[in-house]
Symmetry: none
Subunit: 293 residues, 2 copies
Amino acid sequence: MQVSRSIQDTIMARFDGLSPKLRRAAEFVVEHPDEVATRTLRQVAKAANLAPPTLSRLARALDCETYEDLREICRGELKRRNRILADKAEALLQLSTETVPGAKSGVFIAQAGAAIENIQDLIESIDLEKLRSAAKTLATARKVVLFGTSSGLAVAQYFACMGRLAFDNWRVAGADGSLWATSLTDIGPGDAVFLVSIRPYGNLPVRAAQAARDAGAEVIAITDDLASPYVSIASECFIVGTESPQFFPSHIAALALIEGLMGMIVRRGGNKAAERIQQAESSAHSIGEYWVN
Amino acid sequence: MQVSRSIQDTIMARFDGLSPKLRRAAEFVVEHPDEVATRTLRQVAKAANLAPPTLSRLARALDCETYEDLREICRGELKRRNRILADKAEALLQLSTETVPGAKSGVFIAQAGAAIENIQDLIESIDLEKLRSAAKTLATARKVVLFGTSSGLAVAQYFACMGRLAFDNWRVAGADGSLWATSLTDIGPGDAVFLVSIRPYGNLPVRAAQAARDAGAEVIAITDDLASPYVSIASECFIVGTESPQFFPSHIAALALIEGLMGMIVRRGGNKAAERIQQAESSAHSIGEYWVN
DNA sequence: TTCATATTGAAACATGTGTTTCAATTTAAT
DNA sequence: ATTAAATTGAAACACATGTTTCAATATGAA
């Protein structure tokens, strides 16, 4: 079967050279390829609040002979998506069974499907009271130190990225050249420690968490198993699913938990947090840290 | 949302009372609802070897005001087939929302729900061919350099964690004290650069990506918008949804893409990658890096 | 057979289609 | 400030759309 280019690629190839209206049209087409495939030009134009000629011109700007060609690409997109859904259903069925070394693209779909299931499990099993309590701890702590090893560290750093926007007292242990010990020595009651640890559990974080707990700090942990050492160490421990058809455990659910937690924290933080975020953003703009245009 | 009757039901209801030609038309419509939804009456007529008025009359015979109504039913059929999974996810969400009372719980559920939707969109719109191509590039590159800023850096580091298990030529620019420039100077054809950049786009990565591209390296980018600078810079650019009820964009879909990509890469890598992974794991065990019991 | 009725497709029809023209307007360059 | 080029939408355009008409044909009843 001949594989037609996706509209995404078709549009991405020419997007930067498009005029404002044509961009709006292009955006509408990528977001609603089904409408383009099934409705008429004028109907699509009305739905997108655009003049009919704009769509006609868009087709030309995308190297199509005519609008009908663009529509044909959208038709292909619909068919492809149906095919992918079929693949997904199949891949999900084979998820539990052993994966065949025959190796086709089902790998990707199975992975993504597992990700969705892990998040669904998270939603169903999460203890909102515990979550609220953790949000309060992190939002009101005198100091928050985050750590982890390898993949857990990356996830913790992601959390810290967002946290630093809202608070000025979040630190990642081991970042900016400092040693873990340095970040943890002056920790005590009123402080909070946050960590993500997925199997295999690193040795250092376990001992660090233990030390923080002994020093009287709150320890909030995300881990993946009841047998994890953090279950007994942490004052607030969340267990997330890491099911994956691959050799590595999926960190998707952990990230979903973190994003949700962050949302609740900012909610708690109120205006102060919101102001700090806005301030951080505008100062980043003024020193030209961001790419524009 | 009101559910339109399926074409099967619509046609079965009146099939017995149809004349020979109308039956043939009806059969064609049930077998090719997509053609009816996307092509014109005359095109469908030709494809089915029927006179145009036959289809027009079929619509009337099926209690439709006009042929357009019949076409609308077929459109609904297509949408339904595409939306089954999304509906399922939504239903699960609905379920968990009902079982758990509480005002603030909405924040978390909404975030997780958006995460699922973003992954859903990713699965539906992903171009598997492009993915395979990216997997090949990363698996066979002489050297792979990963970078990003703030949240994007964290995600890239996560990717690097996994990549380093399978390959010894993956580096994160800016990690271990080296400057970006150092990591990027000796890059050229045969090398690959990978980056994640979600709005607002950092300035440095844009320039770095441009430089890498100019030097002849493959640039694989994950970003969030058609208007992103990477759309034109990258040789392989993936756009992921970042919808979120919070002030920050969700990186869940980006992570899902990365995990899926990693799966495909390891598949490609074959035994060599698998061996390296096992080796890394056992050596980590022998030096007591992992916590046991 | 004969007649009435139902079915069918070619051609004509009104209407809506995608496209082009063109004047108004914005944008960029000098 | 002036000019040239690009962008945009209203109106006009040629043409294709779905529908209807109508004559040809098939079907069935007497």
